[in-house]
Symmetry: C2
Subunit: 467 residues, 2 copies
């Protein structure tokens, strides 16, 4: 640890480890901003570190305010890509970045970058961030704390008087959730240079038949007609990427551990399946004459569960989150059904065995029930991502120095980090959340736990900035 960092760490140590009661700042010296909701961002001398800490109250206010930009009533949050609420939420984030003194840029799909220039701006910056879109009827912490928390981490560093060597950059990724266009991590996949996705988006429409580009233009993006290569970032654009996130699992809470240091992100895959039968009147078509596309879907949904359990590993999961029947009338035998299946594992091979079993099962259900398997499409089948050792070591050091309990763990959920890992060394910081709940209104993380995450993030960014 070089002298500069040691001095900084010591300061943070004192700030974070102790209640902020001692102050050699004369209270009469306070300026107006000290009393406002948002903390001040004036760079301060390295001598004034004692007066600073995570502004938990302000951060909670921001989380609460952002949650009101929702298409469904509280406590649920629904924020769909490029919707009116999404546009308002993006403005909220850009405002906060501006208030923190970051220089803001947006790319053609609305990934938002807020940069704090370091003393050596020619070096690859250290970046951190997450997303703020929210699936229908979900909660207010997933993604959000990785964006608002990142901006607050910058504030913490600024208030501490820290001077970055490498620039620090906060990223808000576009559409981590697949809600609108069926594509998860849309922004980070593009950042990581997915030509396949850049092509696919040219013909992608939502369920209302609105094209991706029309939707993007509604939100003020994609003005360069259909050319998304400008979004791609070179490998090495960042020296590190770190994402702060709620665990979305119960382990940290159950163990009363403050921080999860993520070593790998489980490999996710998603599959779309369509069955087609003859349909007909629910009263008039006798049972032996039927080929019910709805029952085919029901069978496949239960088969997914069976194959996942057969893997024998606690780490294999599979979910049918979407199951739709057509025409969807009580007195009509379903003539079509549509399923979307999500399956994940930390072991890619084991996960692929499950996918193959699902495929075989879809074929045999199709044959047994006389329905047509009109689509079986593996939409994505991403490989798992491993965290960078130097980054996890920096995070572990940060936890130790901040006197916070921590453990190594696996992320079973999908994150933008999975794709950032393709162009940058990557690491993730998890914090506990209530019962592991996520993607529902009951999702909750205590502000103390969020503040701990912000402290670890700030210290890790500082370490990596000086590296």
């Amino acid at each position: 640890m070089d002298t500069k960092l040691r001095g900084f760490v010591l300061s943070v140590y004192i700030v974070f480890g102790l209640p902020v009661i001692t102050a050699h700042n004369d209270p009469s010296n306070k300026i107006m901003e000290d009393f406002s909701g948002y903390p001040i961002h004036e760079p301060q001398s390295q001598d004034s570190l004692l007066s600073l800490s995570v502004d938990s109250e302000g951060l909670q206010k921001q989380i609460d305010e952002l949650s009101t930009l929702s298409e469904t009533p509280a406590p649920s949050v629904t924020r769909i890509l490029y919707s009116e609420k999404d546009v308002l939420a993006r403005r909220f984030i850009k405002n906060l970045m501006g208030l923190s003194g970051l220089s803001v840029r947006e790319d053609a799909v609305g990934n938002i970058f807020g940069r704090w220039d370091g003393d050596e701006p020619e070096l690859a910056p250290v970046s951190t961030g997450s997303h703020i879109d929210a699936i229908p009827y979900s909660g207010k912490y997933d993604g959000v704390i990785g964006v608002l928390g990142a901006i607050e981490a910058i504030n913490v560093l600024k208030r501490s008087g820290f001077k970055p060597k490498r620039s620090l950059e906060v990223i808000m990724f576009t559409s981590e959730e697949p809600t609108r266009f069926g594509i998860s991590c849309l922004g980070s996949r593009l950042l990581a240079g997915s030509k396949e996705l850049a092509e696919l988006l040219k013909k992608t429409v939502d369920s209302q038949n609105i094209s991706f580009f029309d939707a993007a233009r509604f939100a003020g993006y994609a003005n360069h007609l259909q050319d998304l290569t400008s979004v791609f970032l070179e490998k090495g654009s960042y020296s590190a990427f770190i994402e702060l996130h709620i665990e979305q699992g119960p382990i940290l809470e159950e163990e009363a551990t403050s921080i999860g240091v993520v070593t790998a992100i489980a490999a996710p895959a998603s599959i779309k399946v369509d069955f087609e039968g003859s349909g007909g009147h629910a009263g008039a078509v006798l049972m032996p004459m039927r080929n019910d596309a709805g029952l085919a879907a029901a069978e496949l949904a239960l088969a997914v569960e069976k194959f996942v359990l057969e893997s024998g590993s606690i780490d294999t999961v599979g979910t049918v989150g979407i199951l739709e029947l057509h025409p969807g009338a009580i007195n009509s035998i379903p003539s079509k059904s549509h399923l979307e299946i999500d399956t994940r594992d930390i072991d890619e091979k084991r996960r692929n065995v499950v996918i193959e079993k699902i495929h075989q099962s879809a074929l045999s259900i199709s044959e047994n029930r006389g329905v047509k398997l009109s689509e079986f499409k593996i939409v994505n089948q991403d490989p798992p991502a491993l965290s960078d050792d130097l980054i996890t070591m920096a995070m572990e050091s940060a936890c130790q120095e901040l006197n916070l309990t921590f453990r190594k763990m696996i992320s079973r959920a999908y994150h933008d980090s999975l794709f950032m890992a393709r162009i940058s060394p990557m690491g993730m910081i998890f914090i506990p959340c209530y019962k592991g709940y996520s993607h529902k209104p009951e999702e909750f993380a205590a502000i103390e736990d969020i503040a701990n995450g912000v402290r670890v993030l700030a210290l890790t960014l500082a370490k990596l900035s000086l590296a």
Copy 2:
């Protein structure tokens, strides 16, 4: 058979049984209407019967034109209660009634009545009719031929010079299909005096949260705020009710039989089920921690099929036409599911055994999967209806006199006749349809078969009018 009817039947016999080539009408006597698309409706003398027949071409045109009033593209038909298309379709029917010289009235929920006054208008009229609403993505014959065919039957009788003793009335029923408000045979249930339904409608809303009364007012009905007792008809209001309908089953077509004389309508029941689980993130919540409301629904859907097959009777049917998951995102474990189940039988007790098994299964699924069975509601559990012997005898005589093959059969589908049977002697006439298809775009009935049905209907109405 009295002399008057014998004379009439003989005439119809000649008209329908022989090609219309002989004519003692001098062609030079023809008026403009003879050459127009719609047939003339001037009452003619009993002597001019030879020049008349079913106007198959005109009837097919009407069926085709009505099918274009649809919310989905051809060949599918979707006509939802009180929608803009429904309002246009109602106008179309009222115009045709007017052109046929019927006096038109509508009640508070939009049941439409077209009356041809008989010589003894103080007697209870003979009525006939069906519905024109269509479930999403269905076809153009279900219900429609029982309304357009009824108006054409009146035209046939008028052209034949027939003079009714009892008045004849064509009824277009409101919302036979349960699509919008989840209530099947809404209009005929109310006509039959369902106080329960009149009360229920006060608090009924559609899936968009539009109240029944707001929807009705949009279509120009329900001006008498929430008082639907005006719709009720006294028992005995009609001396007979007859409905012409496609079979919605394959028997008549397979046997090459022209007419089905319905002796009973199978007893339908419908059930709404809701499961509630914890939901959560599809990646983060491990399998043993889950209580997936979607898988509970899938299990119950397959159980319905199992119990129906266990009945051992070909006449027992059961269908899950609606299965919805909440929140309905690929990366979210379903926290809620909703099913709507339809089960029918000609044996009410046997059907009720199936319902009880479904209930027990829902309870045990709920227990095994740790999900809450938050609703298990038997929405209706109607008793079967038997046709009136005198009416079926009149229909059989009509078939014999018209030299058409016929058979007695059971209606496995739900009809307005089921409820009309509560206030009037009832009978139904079935005609063949392609492969028994119904409730889908492929639904088809040949115009020759429809014309046969209209002939039998016309002759039966004539017989009953004179009775």
